[in-house]
Subunit: 376 residues, 2 copies
């Protein structure tokens, strides 16, 4: 087993070792994770010596967050990073299409220049790959979705080379489109999927598996004979946020409150997963309310119950529809434990692999590497 990846039998210990990692774009947590923000200075200096010809920039442009990373091309090590709240939804607000395009280009040019200046480099020297909402209808330049089957070596990817910057500091970005099926769409996760299957130890699974990418809009990608053939989206993270803030359930849950973590939180989460089985969400959710009314859990633990209901619905559906295919969970440190717990409870455990959280955080960087090698 390669470093940073764990098979199901070991996830419970490995998740602790892998518990640092950053956060996936779009999961609402925009705090920089200090531990992976920069390498220690001496190794950065060594890396920089060869960077001019051997680096690229990886940009993950979500709805609510912007993330740019300087990456060593040979092994996709992240050498430096910038994050900001300039997500696509933020930039698109109250702007005409022309103003919006200018705003996207301006933000990218500014951030690229700022990040590269730290290393004595310029935009002209370092290629940039951009995935996520920048290629959407509210983005920088709209690109059509690629279709399915979408081969996981990247040959079906749709991308455009777009110039940016001002005279004297011009660069080109490889803007990557998403994928769609008849009923579903994703943008950004295509890079993560390419990154996942670029790793030699996982390549063999491309014959038959389901890759789970939790987040605001959790994605389950069905992969057969080397291609993504279908995927499903669950609004798990967004439902948690919207219901906790705006529904009647806000009186019954405190996501950061007492009992949200630890044994109490874990038991409440387990009860939520059990409650979601064989019940439509609209009914299971009302149990969050009666838990509060009947003082069954503290508000913190009840937030864990709500999380269990939502992640449980996803897990039970995967169990019912996933057949016997292996399942790979690629989650950040915060989501890895609850998803693995729910998958275990739903009976997926025997065919489950869990990617280390730090490795999951690097998937889009690795995918950008694949795309730049192929198309850049």
């Amino acid at each position: 087993m390669a470093d940073g990846t764990t098979r199901s039998s070991r996830w419970k210990t490995d998740r602790l070792q892998n518990g640092r990692g950053g956060t996936r774009a779009g999961d609402g947590d925009l705090r920089p994770s200090a531990s992976d923000l920069r390498l220690p200075l001496p190794s950065r200096r060594r890396a920089m010596a060869s960077c001019k010809s051997a680096c690229f920039l990886s940009c993950d442009w979500g709805s609510s967050a912007f993330r740019l990373r300087l990456v060593r091309r040979s092994d996709c090590t992240v050498m430096d990073e910038l994050r900001s709240g300039d997500g696509a939804a933020v930039l698109a607000r109250r702007r005409t299409a022309a103003e919006r395009r200018k705003a996207f280009e301006g933000v990218l040019a500014d951030r690229v220049a700022r990040l590269l200046r730290r290393h004595g480099l310029t935009a002209a020297e370092v290629p940039v790959a951009v995935s996520g909402m920048a290629s959407s209808s509210i983005g920088w330049r709209e690109l059509p979705y690629a279709g399915v089957p979408f081969r996981v070596d990247g040959r079906d990817a749709i991308a455009a080379s777009v110039p940016f910057g001002t005279a004297g500091a011009r660069g080109r970005a490889l803007l990557v489109s998403g994928i769609r099926t008849g009923d579903e769409a994703l943008r950004g996760e295509e890079a993560e999927l390419l990154g996942f299957f670029s790793r030699p130890e996982w390549r063999g699974m491309a014959d038959d598996c389901v890759v789970v990418l939790p987040g605001t809009h959790s994605k389950h990608a069905v992969v057969r004979r080397g291609a993504v053939t279908d995927f499903r989206t669950y609004m798990t993270g967004e439902l948690f946020a919207v219901l906790s803030a705006h529904s009647m359930l806000r009186h019954s849950v405190e996501p950061e409150g007492r009992g949200a973590q630890g044994a109490k939180g874990s038991r409440a989460f387990e009860a939520g997963v059990a409650c979601a089985k064989g019940r439509p969400l609209s009914e299971a959710l009302f149990r969050v309310r009666t838990n509060g009314l009947f003082r069954r859990h503290e508000a913190g633990a009840n937030a864990a119950f709500l999380s269990g209901v939502l992640i449980g619905a996803e897990a039970h559906d995967l169990a019912a529809r996933g057949g016997r295919s292996p399942v790979v969970l690629c989650a950040n440190a915060r989501l890895q434990v609850p998803y693995a717990q729910a998958f275990e409870q739903a009976g997926i455990y025997p065919r489950l692999s869990v990617l280390g959280a730090a490795e999951a955080d690097r998937l889009s960087v690795q995918g950008h590497g694949v795309l730049l090698d192929r198309l850049g």
Copy 2:
């Protein structure tokens, strides 16, 4: 078949005849329905002549709305009505428990006096029944829930006689509690259930049926051998409101927009019901988003699709879990058509009865009559 009630084979024509009716408390539509606000003046005068000894007041106190009706005791005809936005959640906001109790009493005393003054009556002369959130923990005086089995003749109801008003204008209100099971709770619908089974033509169904009361929190009451033995709550109406206003889906739906009504809306609703089958809501909801992205429906019709997903989840669950019991739908004019359509699509049609919308609107009044006869 009694006037105002329709069996399944006729609902499609009857719903048009019954299409006026008011709105159920708590469904978010607080506009008075002019047609049932008052009887024409001459018949009101005739009714008033005998009212002093033969009237009662029926108060339905929801989370967001207050509704008080003057009712002829002999046949539960509504003779006059007052509505306001003084719901329990509104009154409870930023008040201590003592201030809250005072606020509830003040609102009731004021509205009772105002309504009775129109008819030359005083609070001392007319009994008042109050159901809904007034007996909850954020209400006037908290009453414990009644348990199940809860007999539909009202003998298991829990109520308290509470004085209100000032010297010279004092009255007493019969404050009614809700019902709970191990996991579920309701307040207000117990009066509707008592009202339903007080009607001779429906009494026979108390042996075995499921009564569906759609609304913000839709209730399905399981009735066996003359008693409510269980019930389930679906947050259908609230999810529609919260997701339309606060989630990413708000960009894809316009509840009052083009295509929301008529044949386009009906087809989109049907597609939503089909989409909800065998899919967790968190996944089906994302189709609302891709419908928008792929320009599959106008935003108005897409709101009908969202409604179809949510009501469809309820209908499919009822179909899967309701066994072979007869189902009675008691919905206001706005919800009757979509619920009947979804129930038909889910295969419940052969065992479905639909109560007329105007009759459904009177159920709590009739239930209050039962309770005053028994306990008042």
